[in-house]
Amino acid sequence: MRVKRISKKIPELPESPEKVDLSLLDPLIEKFSGKKGITIPVLQGAQEIFGFIPREVFIRLSEELNLELNELYGVATFYAQFRLSPVGKMIIKVCHGTACHVQNAGTITESLQESLKVEDGCTTEDGLFTLESVACLGCCSLAPVMMIGDETYGKLTGNEAVKIIKELKLKEKN
């Protein structure tokens, strides 16, 4: 089950490192005010703006749109798309669809975990990479595949994946 225990998670709802500019939400609130079935699009819109959904945003949306805070939080934790903490500059999506699985996608995640020293779903200390396992990216004939930004890398091995990450890291430093 995807739902995480709320009692543990709530205090972790990030007090955002920088102050969240809640006025950015105004157009969103205006667009959805008074409509029905808006919970998911509103949260998607908020995540689009901030990259994740900060605590303050939940509270403001709940107040302005007349949605129960627990409902918003319930929906945000049900769906895989929503993030409650900031992500790295680059998100590495390693495909774990069936085709990639039978072509050893596991090795790629393991190699990246080891090289980046992060667990699956976490962000590196320097805030550069977030490592994610995703279900099918839909380019099964290129399996195994990972995607960073808009770039897709196919027919990978663990070593190649690590090499690509190292190159990106180097590029970022210069």
């Binding site: 929906v75 769906y79 895989a80 072509q103 995607m147």
Partner: protein, 592 residues
């Protein structure tokens, strides 16, 4: 003389393989050298294994080039377009002579995919040129009443292509019968099966055919509103849908009084899914559109009676809708000519896994699995032995090699214990461990279980724990019975399709590959060398260069050896993590 056309396949798979860069390169080249040819875009023709694809059409015919990168693109333009000298080495299929890849196309019958790879999906006129929106026009011009539209669909024998296989016409009839001030048509585009991508290809390659199918459904059922629930993970499909809807509105196919017919109103909106596999189940999908957690509801009442916002609703899958305009245009009986007695028409499959020609194929129902894999799919790479095919994703099952003459239709596939599902066909060879495959799917369904039904929520977790134990060499003989017992309990006690089918991958592998489970449990061996904890790692003395990389990376210091000397793995310390195998650049770690 007609102008030479250069068309680039820009579906998601093509873009992933680099087609975007090829398009950019060719258009830059055209600009810079002021070349005289027409540059066009299309989507996926289904030959994913040959992407990126570039088609050149000149006065001699059509030439489809495969595996084109930026350099090859330049060569292609110079030789073929500028000097009329086709580059034979890159040709995949051409009008002029036979190529091995032609077999891939010849065995197919394209109805749902009739326009994919043939038109630019962002230009409505190209769809219209190929007869698009002709079915809506036919209904309006010939004043065909809704009852007759439904009858035509019933005559076609079309069954739901999302996996359930429920007769589409019958579904429409139910929704038609229920009187209400408002009804909804919902298109299920929440294609979450890992290993299935035909709905994405359809939406990217021919969005108008899906819209047209929905408009016809709206007319037949008496609905004025349509909703497409599409995965957010399909950005290109979402973009092309938005363009298509806008164009269809401009041309009067969507909106009020469609094509001038009084009271024929239909509008379509798109809802983005947020990533939950269970939302493919129709009642969960409805909950999700309403903005709630995507949890299934009890049926009855069925959506045809009380669906979205408690109004009668009709839900069909993308591929089902794409078939509709063809059926109305050509007649239900023309569609029913294809297929078997109880499964009419064609089905699109996404071929992937250990297969030479991975991609999309549309075949008539009744073809054997063997023919799909060997005649169309080109067999297994590397001369390996074909072992099984997985049909139906996490809800389906594995069909072993000896049943590969099973024909593809709803009932024959169900009889093997798998399901037709949405059409993912993942091929496995002798190096695939079937226990590991069962574990993979169960891990998926466990994560995706919404948690409403206890047996699905807890049962899948318990089953997964047993499977993990087996793959780590801790299995006991009675585990197989336990798995079966749990499997039937979950099937019997779950509200929706996810739970009812979640144990299928385990049950089919237990049925057809029991010996592999036994090898894992009693001999502590993984016959296909997949389950790491059951392997022995040894240094191959001939290949080892003594580079010390394995020793440095071994987390438990189980590897010894001096620099430039053959290394040695101490089996009593080795935890079988596989790091040495992954790190070694000289193939010097053997598995057994």
């Amino acid at each position: 003389m007609t102008k030479t056309k250069v068309i680039i396949g820009l579906g998601s798979c093509g873009v992933a393989a680099g087609a975007g860069k090829v398009y950019k390169k060719i258009s830059e080249l055209k600009e810079a050298e002021n070349l005289d040819f027409e540059l066009g875009k299309t989507s996926c023709v289904g030959m994913c294994y040959r992407e990126p694809l570039v088609e050149v059409i000149d006065e001699n015919g059509s030439f489809l080039y495969g595996g084109i990168d930026e350099d090859k693109a330049v060569e292609l333009i110079n030789k073929h377009v500028n000097n009329n000298n086709p580059v034979r080495d890159y040709i995949v299929v051409t009008d002029l002579y036979d190529t091995p890849d032609r077999k891939y196309l010849e065995g197919q019958v394209k109805i749902a995919l009739r326009n994919c790879g043939m038109i630019d999906p962002e230009i409505i006129a190209e769809y219209e040129e190929r007869g698009g929106y002709g079915a809506v026009r036919k209904i309006v011009e010939n004043k065909i009443p809704p009852e007759n539209v439904i009858k035509e669909v019933m005559d076609s024998g079309l069954r739901g292509r999302g996996g359930g296989g429920f007769p589409t016409g019958l579904k429409w009839k139910f929704a038609h019968k229920n009187k209400s001030d408002n009804k909804y048509i919902i298109c299920n585009a929440d294609e979450g099966d890992p290993g299935a991508f035909m709905d994405r290809s359809l939406l990217e390659g021919d969005p108008h055919s899906v819209l047209e199918g929905m408009i016809i459904a709206g007319y037949a059922v008496g609905a004025n509103e349509g909703v497409i629930y599409c995965r957010a993970e399909y950005p290109l499909a979402l973009k092309r849908l938005a363009i298509a809807i806008e164009q269809a509105e401009d041309r009067g196919y969507l909106g009020s009084n469609i094509l001038g017919k009084e009271g024929f109103d239909f509008r379509i909106t798109v809802k983005e899914g947020a990533g939950a596999f269970v939302c493919g189940e129709e009642t969960a999908l409805i909950a999700s559109i309403e903005g709630e957690r995507g949890m299934p509801r009890k049926r009855p009442p069925f959506p045809a009676e009380s669906g979205l916002w408690r109004k009668p609703s009709n839900i069909n899958n993308v591929e089902t809708f794409a078939n509709i305009p063809w059926i109305i245009d050509k007649g239900g009986s023309a569609y029913a000519k294809y297929g078997t007695e109880k499964s009419k028409g064609t089905k699109v499959f996404a071929l992937a896994g250990k297969i030479n020609h991975g991609g999309l194929v549309e075949v008539p129902m009744g073809i054997t699995i063997k023919d799909v894999i060997f005649k169309l799919g080109g067999g297994i790479p590397g001369g390996k032995k074909f072992k099984a095919v997985q049909l139906g994703g996490p809800s389906g099952g594995c069909i072993p090699e000896y049943l590969s003459s099973t024909v593809v239709d709803f009932d024959s596939v169900t009889a093997t214990g798998a399901i037709m599902g949405s059409g993912g066909m993942v091929v496995m060879d002798e190096t695939t461990c079937m226990v590991d495959v069962a574990k993979f799917f169960l891990d998926f369904t466990r994560k995706e279980s919404c948690g409403k039904c206890t047996f699905c929520r807890v049962g899948t977790k318990r089953m997964l724990e047993i499977l993990i134990r087996i793959t780590e060499g801790e299995g006991e003989t009675k585990d197989m019975e336990k798995l079966e017992e749990l499997a039937y309990q979950i099937k019997d006690s779950s509200l929706c399709g996810l739970g009812q089918t979640a144990p299928n991958p385990v049950l089919t592998t237990l049925k057809y590959f029991r010996d592999e489970y036994e090898a894992h449990i009693s001999q502590k061996k993984c016959p296909s060398l997949t389950c790491k904890k059951l392997l022995t790692y040894e240094v191959n003395e001939e290949n080892c260069t003594g580079c010390t990389v394995c020793a440095k990376n071994c987390p438990v210091d189980a590897i010894e050896g001096a620099r430039k000397e053959v290394h040695f793995i101490k089996q009593d310390i080795c935890i079988r993590c596989g790091v040495c195998f992954n790190k070694c650049k000289f193939d010097a770690i053997n598995l057994s």
